[in-house]
């Protein structure tokens, strides 16, 4: 708005009025445009900010709802699963849900209600409330219709306050009904709780915004915030909507940033609009004035703001201002210096970060509570200082209003009142210091301390009050510098005496009421005084000189003043320059500190007395506050625990008490605090500065204040560490004496026994017969007593100790040999105090020594008998100790034989060395469990002797090297000889077996060749004999006569018989040859086939044949065919002369096993000859009766035997025969 103002009249051709009008219109247009743009621009920024804020709110709510619904889902899922599981168990659905709801109540947030409703809409169970048997509509009237419409999932909105806004859906919000059999589980969000939740998140929500939660179907689910119409106010409303991801819900916010608009816009906007209207209507020069007014107004505002800031920043008070929205929008420099933070950090609610956490809630309560009521407030709280510590601040806040009386926020003034607060605390601390009266001597100290405490309390109170007052005064002075009017007011009504004096004359120009009251002068009298009149004669020159040097604010310190009545008081004075009634003057504030000084003096003296007493005490005297912190300790803490007093007071007792004693310490303290008593002789371990622990015995008494309130404890501790240690040491020594198995006894110099330990009493049987030997001779048999008294005791007294072997008398009077030590104990002057003795029963060790000797003897005998020698080899030197047998074994004389490792190696047979050394190394390396080797040693006469050596490493060095080896040598020459013989025998045996095998193989081959030759070469001649005899008959039959023909027949007959024999022998030989196969064979089929062929060959014979079917066997089919053929052929042959022949092939038994039988009712045989049946060429019938070769049954038996079976024959002459056989040990076999 840098418009040039017309400073000269316009030129001639146009009238000044015209020019003025034109210019004013021009200017007005420009101004309007500029203001308009400016307005629009600012408005836009504010709206943008508001929109952003609305967006933030909506986002926060959306997250809140999402989390909330997520939790609800989780609960539902859990409940559904558990309910389903219960239903699977066929439990009563309703009861199970009742239990479920009851048991899982804790799963549900407060804002959720679970209801179980039946089909009729009756609520039968509820989780949060026990409403009993109510219809569902009680909860949600709209639900009935929803339910009837088959709604299973959806959202209905309700909020009692907003019922008018969503009339279609009153009731409750429900989610995801779960349908199970006849019941429906309804889960409700209780909107009240939900609403609270939302409101808690954003306190300013309700004042400036409205929100709404909308479901996917467009239903309004929940709304809240400012009532409609109030927030919008015709200025601006911005809206934002955020959709909850994964949910059918969105959150919208309408935000009306009225406070911002009101604060920043309203005055200027209204003003500008009015101005514009005026311009438009008047078209006049008023525009100039208005414009100027606007600028002046703005300048004034700027200057005023600047003025305010300057004033605010120059004082010591911490100042803040807040807008109507409760948010702070200004902090002065002192505040920022105090907190060490930037303005940006503190703005809004940033300042709250600096408030002590313990004080914040209270502060906010006061702040918000008063703010809403537009009331001034004053509160004390701790504010974090730039140095990191907290200071107590008194914060006085008052509402601010603009010139029109509109509320525009608060301004606050804060003062550091730490000193005051610390004084109050010091007072408390002082009150809590007193001393326990454990002893008479200490009682006096305690009384002294009580006095001291009382005095100090007074002093502290006075000091605190004084300090508070001083502070106030200082503040007031500060303020007064800024405002004369305020000076005056404060001056008149200040409770402290105040005066104004002229610098030059020192005449009093003004005094206040308090001055008159305090000094006893009337107002008029006072104005006649000079300042120096108030001082005693002795100080007047000094103060006059001082005043000439004063400039600005000054504290002149302590002085004596005279009252009107001449009495002297002690004061402190602060003063600073002012102009008063046109004169250079100083205003002074006077503080009467007479009482304080007196009290302080008394306190000092009292405390001095107490401290002298306490600090000269031999014990540790201390005071504890109610928090268990030491507030006082006398210097003895250094002697006890090694800490300086200050050092100790800075430490928490819990960090010094032994961890195991902490509970005891805490319990003692808590009990004393609760019962308002002290404690006595409580032993606690405290950590010394050196890290060790000291046992302190503590006693304490409670400390009460004037009102009888418990303030803390005072007490005294003493170090009992050494006492306890000594006691423990003594107990330990006694227990050692009692625990030892030796006899320990003590006697006085006269020989009277004064102590016998437990084992001694037991050994001597003192406990059983209760006659304690009173003098030394009674303990020992006569000879031992003589020895002890004659030699032992005198020697011990002379040299300190004596030892020897004596004896004591046992419980039954028997003599018990002992080794005895006698000691004499003398004091520093060499006087004998007492004698002690230690005796050890040596019966067992004597017996053990005897047993050892006998054992060694037995071992020696055993080794000799076993031809064994012993060696004990020192592996570090190679020397060995050996037994006599070791030497004699090798032909040496034991008396002169000297064994070393080297000598042994020398004697070792070269062929055995590698194996022996390897065995040793393997053993040492633990690769084999034992060292056991056989080797040859050269004997003395040059021969070799087999030795079995066994050994064991007995000692090992720390680094794992073997040190010593023990072992035996055994003469195994005889054993070795026997082994060799056996080996030779085995070798020759194997050779013989091999030879035999070769021979047998050759024989077998020969036999085979023989059989082959028979088949070829024996048959040809037979065929020739048979053939040519036939040819002779055919060709020359006519010429042959009589016997000639018969002879030819005989030749033919003989050749046939010979042929049968050859065939039989071949079969027999083949039955023992070749591989035996195991085929499934049906013997029934074989027998049937053979019999059929026989019957076919002799069609005239009528034989009854019975062949059992399915006679299955496992064997070599060719050989079994031979068996069956032979048996069946025999049966056929031997029934040749029977009247009604019958042949049967059937299953039977052989030696209890199932077998196969061929039986007939033919010629049979005499069992007396049965043994010959199966021998080759043995026949039981004459050839002319039943011709045969005598080879068939021999072949059959061989085949059966080869199969692992047996064959037996039963028979009776002329009644038949029965041959039964098995094919294996298991008898009849069935093919699989």
């Amino acid at each position: 708005m840098n418009n040039p103002l017309p400073s000269h009249p316009p030129s001639a051709r146009v009238t000044p009025a015209q020019v003025t009008l034109f210019l004013s219109i021009l200017i007005a247009a420009i101004v309007l445009a500029a203001l308009g743009f400016d307005l629009l621009d600012k408005r836009q920024r504010v709206l943008d900010n508001a929109r952003q804020e609305a967006q933030n709110i909506a986002g926060t709510q959306a997250r809140l709802i999402r989390d909330h619904l997520g939790h609800v889902d989780g609960v539902l899922a859990q409940l559904a699963v558990r309910w389903h599981a219960r239903q699977l168990l066929h439990e009563d659905a309703e009861q199970s849900l009742r239990d479920l709801l009851r048991n899982h109540r804790n799963l549900l947030p407060d804002a959720i209600e679970l209801l179980l409703a039946d089909d009729k809409g009756r609520v039968v169970a509820a989780a949060n409330t026990l409403l009993g048997d109510l219809p569902l509509e009680t909860y949600c009237p709209a639900l009935a219709s929803q339910r009837q419409n088959g709604v299973r999932q959806g959202l209905v909105a309700y909020h009692p306050e907003l019922a008018a806004q969503c009339p279609a859906s009153p009731g409750l919000i429900y989610l995801k009904p779960l349908k199970r059999s006849d019941y429906t589980l309804w889960l409700f969000l209780l909107p009240d709780g939900f609403r609270d939740n939302l409101d808690a998140e954003l306190p300013r929500f309700s004042a400036s915004a409205r929100f709404r939660i909308v479901g996917g179907s467009g239903n309004l689910l929940l709304a809240g915030g400012a009532p409609p119409g109030q927030a919008s106010d015709g200025v601006a409303t911005v809206s934002a909507t955020v959709t909850v991801p994964g949910r059918d819900v969105s959150v919208g916010v309408d935000y009306a940033p009225e406070h911002i608009l009101a604060q920043l816009w309203r005055p200027q906007a209204g003003f500008t609009f009015a101005l514009a209207l005026g311009l438009l209507l008047s078209w006049s020069l008023i525009a100039f004035f208005i414009l100027r007014t606007v600028r002046q107004y703005q300048d004034y505002l700027a200057a005023s703001e600047q003025h305010f800031r300057t004033l605010a920043d120059s004082g010591s008070a911490l100042i803040w201002t807040a807008g109507g929205d409760k948010l702070c929008n200004y902090f002065n420099q002192p505040w920022l210096r105090f907190t060490g933070r930037s303005l940006a950090q503190e703005l809004g609610n940033g300042w709250a970060e600096g408030v002590h956490p313990d004080d914040l809630a209270r502060c906010l309560d006061i702040y918000v509570g008063h703010f809403d009521k537009r009331q001034a407030f004053s509160m004390d709280y701790r504010l974090r200082h730039a140095d990191g510590g907290y200071r107590w601040i008194r914060d006085d806040g008052v509402p601010r209003h603009d010139r029109d009386g509109l509320f525009i926020g608060y301004i606050g003034f804060c003062y550091d009142i730490t000193a005051q607060q610390e004084a109050a605390q010091a007072l408390q601390a002082a009150q809590s210091a007193s001393l326990e009266a454990q002893r008479q001597g200490r009682l006096a100290a305690l009384n002294q301390m009580e006095d001291a405490n009382a005095a100090r309390r007074l002093a502290e109170a006075a000091t605190a009050e004084q300090q508070l007052l001083n502070q106030r005064i200082t503040n007031l002075l500060e303020d007064m510098r800024q405002s004369e009017a305020r000076y005056r007011h404060l001056f008149e009504h200040n409770p402290a005496p105040m005066l104004v004096y002229e610098r030059g004359s020192l005449r009093l120009l003004a005094v206040n009421e308090a001055f008159c009251r305090h000094y006893g002068y009337s107002h008029e009298e006072a104005l006649d005084l000079r300042l120096t009149d108030l001082y005693p004669e002795r100080d007047r020159q000094r103060i006059a000189d001082l005043i000439t040097r004063l400039a600005g604010y000054a504290n002149v310190g302590e002085w004596q003043h005279l009252k009107k009545d001449g009495s002297e008081i002690t004061i402190e004075a602060r003063s600073h320059d002012i102009e008063y009634q046109g004169c250079r003057a100083r205003m002074a504030v006077i503080t009467d500190i007479t009482d304080r000084k007196a009290v302080e003096r008394a306190v000092r003296e009292s405390e001095e007395r107490f401290r002298n007493l306490a600090e000269n005490s031999a014990d540790w005297i201390w005071a504890l506050d109610l928090n268990g912190h030491h507030t006082y300790s006398n210097p003895n803490i250094g002697a006890l625990l090694g800490f300086a007093v200050d050092e100790f007071l800075a430490l928490a007792p819990a960090s010094l008490v032994h961890p195991d004693d902490l509970a005891k310490f805490g319990a003692t303290f808590e009990h004393a605090r609760a019962s308002r008593t002290g404690w006595r002789n409580v032993v606690i371990r405290w950590r010394h500065k050196d890290g060790g622990y000291r046992l302190l015995e503590s006693s304490a008494a409670p400390v009460m204040d004037d009102q009888g309130e418990l303030q803390g404890f005072q007490g005294v501790d003493r170090d009992i560490t050494e006492r306890v240690q000594l006691e423990q040491e003594r107990a330990r020594l006694a227990s050692i004496l009692e625990a030892t198995s030796d006899i320990v006894s003590m006697a006085d110099p006269q020989g009277n026994i004064i102590y016998f330990n437990g084992p001694g009493r037991t050994l001597l049987g003192i406990e059983s017969n209760s006659t304690m030997p009173d003098v030394i001779p009674k303990v020992h048999p006569q000879w031992a007593a003589d020895l002890v008294l004659g030699e032992g005791v005198p020697t011990a007294i002379r040299t300190g100790s004596w030892s020897g072997e004596t004896a004591v008398l046992g419980a039954g009077g028997e003599e018990i040999p002992v080794s005895q030590v006698i000691l004499s104990h003398k004091d520093t002057q060499g006087n004998l105090l007492f004698l002690s003795t230690i005796m050890r029963d040596i019966r067992e060790s004597r017996a053990a020594a005897q047993a050892l000797r006998e054992s060694e003897e037995r071992l020696r005998l055993a080794l000799t008998a076993a031809q064994q020698g012993l060696y004990d080899l020192d592996l570090t030197t190679g020397d060995a100790k050996v037994s006599p047998e070791y030497a004699t074994m090798l032909g040496y004389d034991p008396a002169t034989f000297k064994e070393t490792n080297a000598a042994w190696r020398e004697r070792l047979h070269p062929d055995d060395q590698a194996a022996v050394y390897k065995a040793y190394e393997d053993y040492v390396a633990d690769r084999i469990p034992e060292y056991r080797v056989e080797f040859r040693q050269r004997t003395r006469d040059g021969g070799w002797k087999w030795v079995l050596s066994m050994g064991r490493i007995q000692d090992w060095s720390a680094d794992g090297r073997p040190l010593r080896m023990l072992g035996t040598h055994t003469d195994i020459d005889a054993l070795k000889a026997a082994e060799a013989a056996l080996r030779d025998l085995n070798v020759s045996l194997e050779a013989r077996v091999a030879q035999r095998t070769v021979e047998l193989t050759a024989a077998n081959q020969e036999l085979e060749s023989f059989a082959y030759a028979i088949s070829h070469d024996l048959r040809a001649p037979l065929r020739a004999m048979s053939g040519f005899s036939v040819a002779l008959q055919e060709d020359y039959g006519d010429t042959l006569t009589g016997d000639a023909k018969r002879y030819l027949d005989q030749i033919d007959l003989a050749s046939r018989k010979m042929s049968d024999l050859v065939d039989g022998l071949l079969t027999l030989s083949r039955s023992t040859r070749g591989e035996l196969r195991h085929d499934p064979v049906d013997l029934s089929v074989l027998a049937r086939r053979r019999l059929d062929r026989l019957a076919h060959g002799e069609p005239l014979r009528h034989v009854t044949i019975e062949v059992e079917t399915d006679l299955h066997a496992l064997g070599d089919v060719r050989m079994l065919e031979v068996v069956i053929d032979n048996l069946v052929d025999n049966a056929w042959k031997y029934t040749g002369r029977t009247a009604a022949p019958c042949i049967r092939v059937h299953a039977g038994t052989v030696n209890g096993l199932r077998g196969f039988c061929v039986s007939d009712n033919g010629a049979g045989f005499d069992m007396a000859h049965a043994a010959r049946l199966f021998q080759p060429f043995q026949r039981l019938h004459r050839q002319e009766e039943f011709p045969g070769t005598g080879i068939g049954l021999a072949t059959v038996q061989r085949i059966v035997h080869r199969h692992g079976g047996e064959i037996v024959a039963q028979g009776k002459p002329d009644e038949g025969a029965c041959f039964c056989f098995t094919l294996s040990a298991s008898g009849l076999e069935k093919p699989s």
Binding site: Y1012, S1015, H1016, D1017, R1019, A1020, P1021, L1022, R1023, A1024, S1026, G1027, F1028, S1029, V1030, A1031, S1055, R1056, S1059, L1066
Partner: protein
């Protein structure tokens, strides 16, 4: 009538006489040549050695071969014949006293066309020989000439 001849390989003169007698009785062959060991048999067939100049057809209609032969056994002879393209298809009947299974198996493995055991009984023997003569000379169709 086509000329038919038989080569009989038989070292036993008695068996030879009896065999020839049996063949002659049925009168099937125009001519019967007899050799007495394996080598002779090969020489005869391949016209080598003592048979280099022999007359008559190249190959007999059928060859009756004993197994137990001097010099080369019947099985060896058979093996050689089957290895030679000229005699690969020559009908060979083994006529032997052996009833050894191994002989029978080897004979067939080596390509024998028939295996006949000589019965000891002459009647049976004569009948067997007569039958095989009729079969191989009259009934059987020889392989086509190469």
């Amino acid at each position: 009538m086509k000329f038919k001849n038989i080569l009989l390989v038989e070292d036993n003169p008695q068996d030879e006489m009896l065999t020839l007698r049996a063949f002659n009785k049925v009168n099937v062959a125009n001519r019967i040549d007899v050799v007495r060991d394996g080598q002779q048999a090969l020489d005869y067939l391949f016209r080598t050695g003592e048979f280099a100049q022999r007359d008559g057809p190249d190959l007999p209609t059928v060859m009756v071969l004993d197994i137990g032969l001097p010099r080369l056994s019947g099985l060896e002879v058979l093996e050689r014949l089957r290895a030679d393209p000229r005699t690969k298809l020559l009908p060979v009947v083994i006529l032997t006293s052996s009833d050894d299974e191994r002989d029978r198996l080897k004979s067939y493995l080596n390509g024998a066309n028939s295996f006949v055991r000589k019965p000891v009984d002459f009647g049976e023997f004569a009948e067997s020989v007569a039958r095989l003569g009729i079969y191989w000379l009259a009934t059987n169709e020889p392989p086509p000439a190469a």
